[in-house]
Symmetry: C2
Subunit: 263 residues, 2 copies
Amino acid sequence: MSEIFETPLLNELQRDSTDPLAEPIVVRNAPEQIVERLVTAVALGVYVPGQALPPERELASLLGVSRATVREALRRMTESGFIEQRRGRNGGSFVLEGWRPSSADLIRRHLLPNWSRFEALFDARQLLEPVIAATAARRRGDGDVAALSQALVDYREATDREESRVADERLHRAVAESTHNPVLVGLSAQIRTRISLELGAEPYTPEIRRVAAVQHGMLAEAVIEQDPGRAHSIALEHFGLTEGLVRDLVARVGEAATRESDG
Amino acid sequence: MSEIFETPLLNELQRDSTDPLAEPIVVRNAPEQIVERLVTAVALGVYVPGQALPPERELASLLGVSRATVREALRRMTESGFIEQRRGRNGGSFVLEGWRPSSADLIRRHLLPNWSRFEALFDARQLLEPVIAATAARRRGDGDVAALSQALVDYREATDREESRVADERLHRAVAESTHNPVLVGLSAQIRTRISLELGAEPYTPEIRRVAAVQHGMLAEAVIEQDPGRAHSIALEHFGLTEGLVRDLVARVGEAATRESDG
DNA sequence: TATTTATGGTCTGTGGACCAGACCTTATAC
DNA sequence: GTATAAGGTCTGGTCCACAGACCATAAATA
């Protein structure tokens, strides 16, 4: 009887419909899932452009699949221009620099058509992250302080966009982990990943990085000093900033696109 | 290039690890997913014990799979004692009454071993649902009032545990839907489903149902009257009640289990 | 009572996904 | 110049899902 409770619990954050039987079953085959994991890993900064993914044989054993399957995943990623495979000793699968479409292009082709989904995602983030931040401030333990300070230092020392992204991810994860609740950690990571993935390059201009650095500093500080109220309001403002930026960007590009199609 | 953005976005709310490559790839095959959907549908009250699921051929076409695959899923569910299949005209796959293990049994065999996961889930719920409720109060439109009042009436008119569960689900969904944010609706539904699934029977004693009815009434009212602060605090209290109940239950059964194994 | 019909139950052949593992090719390190 | 660490190729096998035909049963209905 009880094995039915062992079914991996439903994991679909956003099935479009509300009726469990309304949508077709999709068997997510292995290569597809592997691509997703690898793209996620890059989005989260585990591998940065120029770096090689683990060798095929190692990936196969890490992921518990055959090498043929890993190769199929890598083949698709090569085809998409996401990685480049090089042979010989010191070869490997290298994450390409320019795999993200240009900002304007991305927005026109991806962001605009799916704008309502993004809006909901940003909106949810701005509602949920402050709660997570406040909870983190309330619950952080002594062990969390080190991770928070370290992430903050990394962020301040980041010199380019890529390093900023990675440090940003670490800092927000450190905050989420200070809640000591894996569900919240997972939720926060999932929101970040989805935004990072779908958005590609977040608009990390030097100016924005400066503002964000200040906010990150204040956020980490509020958590360290166990001040939930401040953590909440800083997070609110911080995530509002990003949302505002993207909104402006989309508006500008959207207008441009409209003008073009009119002309 | 852009097709890589079309990968169904990562959906795993709670992968245990934080490293995308640390865990094996699991190909969730079709029957497994179908079982999950059907169990979910029952957990959400779409089908109640005694009722028949749709006929196999219809399920196959709804879910976009072959009948053989549906049959495999139903075979597993029959094996687990979840449904009973009857042949002939007016036959079908009937949800069994007693498919949930008894409370104490369930707790001993399932809740105790996974207690930390539940704790995190309840904790997250108590943090997130009040925000959702407050947001619902802030954003509810005229169209939401009808759904809220109707759900409330259903809840009050519910006579047995099963009807209460269904009405409860509807009411909380109506609240979530008043936020007009599909991400929040999905999140709330997912938390509810997981708790409902893993918990099996929530402790719906008549007494609890009376208290919950009052709270539900106040919650719906606060949302209808667009009072975010009240909605927040009522939700906090309401979800605290459930958590407290389960916590007590587990403590009692846990003690009993300890005494037994000592004796 | 006989027939129709809506359901579950059974079978067969086909294609594709994934696996295990051996072996080939290339480019670098030593 | 050789050893080595990577990617590239091939084979044979297993299992899963599909399509579709057909069988068996029990209730509704004529």
